[in-house]
């Protein structure tokens, strides 16, 4: 009825929407934006305050620093 199961189309069923097309389209847009780096942006993120970041960088061990530069 909502167009979620295209394989099942009995005669008594009237289709009122094509949700599968809408959903797959949205998910494909999501995948393409993630792959290209267009999403997520800072708008969708949380970040650390500069002061805390400076403290963190001062605390890191050499092992942790090596990992950072990779």
């Amino acid at each position: 009825m909502l167009g979620l199961y295209k394989e099942l189309a009995p005669r008594f069923l009237k289709v009122y929407a094509d949700l599968s097309q809408t959903i797959v389209g949205a998910l494909t847009d999501f995948r393409q934006e993630v792959e290209s780096g267009a999403f997520p942006t800072m708008q969708h993120s949380y970040s650390i305050e500069d002061e805390e970041l400076a403290k963190l960088l001062a605390q890191l061990s050499s092992h942790e620093r090596i990992a950072n530069s990779e």
């Binding site: 970041l53 960088l57 942790e64």
Partner: protein
Amino acid sequence: MSTRSKVTTTTLKAKKQRGQKITLLTAYDFPMASFIEQAGIDVVLVSDAVGTVGNGRPEAVSVTVDEMIYHTRAVRNGARYSLVVTTLPFGSYNRVEDALHNATRLMKEGGADGVHLEGTRQAGNLVQAIVSAGIPVMGHIGVTKQKIVRAGRIQLPGRTAESAREIIQDALEMAALGLCPGRRMPAGAPGRDHHPQPGHSYHQHWLRYAL
């Protein structure tokens, strides 16, 4: 799609080495899993959020291994090519024997390709046991939903130097165990996949988006 091949942890590793992004979405049932697969997403996560988002409960602590198996079977039917990873629910991996037993059940009875757990450094021995049994494990750092019992709400870690450093250490531990990259990482947390890179917002590294 006729040439499409099954996504494996080897495929994901190759993607990472080529510098490509890995995509992941959550599903609990057959129709959503098939839409995700049609969209070409690499990984489908059968998350214990099925308790809240999928079943309308106020919490996910009550989700059982049997429930995760039921939902994994439905997702597996919709996602034949995407990598299906199932969450070990709260309380199902406290001891090595439980972790092994339940991870094996998710694979054998659910048809999962791997398991996901909210592991921190403290869970290192559990992760090692599961990996040794030949079961791929997806690590998880940052926001840990299952710890809601302690805090009463989902907390956003990584906003202080101390908390961010803990996440970096968790990430290094998980990387040392050979785990594939985790998911939602908090502020100032690890950079490219599981290599910590404070100073970069974690926005580049989200792998999971719950539907």
